[in-house]
Amino acid sequence: MNLTLRIWRQSGPEDKGRMVTYQVDDVSPDMSFLEMLDVLNERLILAGEDPVAFDHDCREGICGMCGMMINGQAHGPQRGTTACQLHMRQFSDGDTIDIEPWRARAFPVIKDLVVNRGAFDTIIAAGGYITAPTGSAPEAHSVPVAKANADAAFEAAACIGCGACVAACPNGSGMLFTAAKVTQLSLLPQGQPERYTRVIGMVDAHDEAGFGGCTNAGECTVACPKGIPLNTIGRLNRDYLTATTKAAGKPGS
């Protein structure tokens, strides 16, 4: 297949950036989206041009590094799929594809399609951990966890921190990420000791990082390659309300 790509090119954080059009021919429908970009980059390198910078690592949809707006959709048109697992068979011969980086104040562009998602690390550092001693895995039955809670916690823990929720959100909010990280701990016994300081700390860090506010628009959960459900934000809200009212001043339950 032959494609026209319009890609955001920005040489560095200070550059203004612009959309540049490239023609890529002989693309196999079995290629992944990133392999198609590799083909373009090899051609650019041979021509002595600067290749398109994009983040990637595992290329099997579990690391959360890759991520770009493809025709205005985070990770492209296929639901529940990262950009690296998106295949060119999702597109048709002759298509024009617009590729842009995540757009958010908290995610400044480093180069081309690469953004700095360090703001997510700041949110995690504000409470997304437990202080219980770890070490080797304990006997699984020693701490009972209700099956429903285990399932919901696991669902939230599937978050790979790719930033698609922020990119897709009309408010540029990172609340689905924050909620997933709060939920995976608040549903488990190990997360209880710091449950309420965690939610306050992480929401404050989220707001300070320059993300927008959540209005429950639901775009994030549609874009999320891991299908983190919108109700995790309700779990965060519930914890936040408890933390600011009856559990005010208490670190956990």
Binding site: R105, V222, N231
Partner: protein, 210 residues
Amino acid sequence: MAVTGIILVLFLIAHMLGNLKSFAGQTAFDHYAHWLRDIGKPLLPGVWFLWILRGVLTVAVIGHIAAATALAMRARAARPVRYAHRAKVQGSYAARTMRWGGVIILLFVIYHLLDLTTGHLNPVGDPSKPYGNLVADFAPERWYVTLFYTLAILAIGFHLRHGAFSAFRSLGQQTPRGERRARVAALVFAVALCAGYLVVPFAVLTGLVS
């Protein structure tokens, strides 16, 4: 957002029920309208209750707009560079029209107050004859007024559909099953409220209420 929204929703329900009094005839409707001015008597003198209610509603409206403005400004600041290519709405259409829908509703409320409260834009405009004002307002030859009211009520319906769901969520609704229930409840509520409001102007338009 949620708390001020709930106050306004409670008012909308009471207002709709009051409107439906128009089906009980001119005497009943006028009596109801005059009773509104007398609630609280003799504990509160004159129209005090009504003014207290108006004060609460005004505070709720201002609080609601202030919170919405703060959220909108944060959203603008959070995305300084816009997307060149933006996909169509993936989530909820109602959610994406909350801000401009809210502005439209505010303009409608101002028109509505000038029309049926102060009477400035009403063909009869006599505060002592609310039934007469109502019937004159939605008379068939003033079909454009009915059309405008219909569009405004539908905008309120969309606003409520997302607003009611979002309020549940903000106040801690947290299970997937509860989310499905909240969405259905919000939709049913929005449709019921729209129907309750629209039935009155259409009854006047078709001559059921005259």
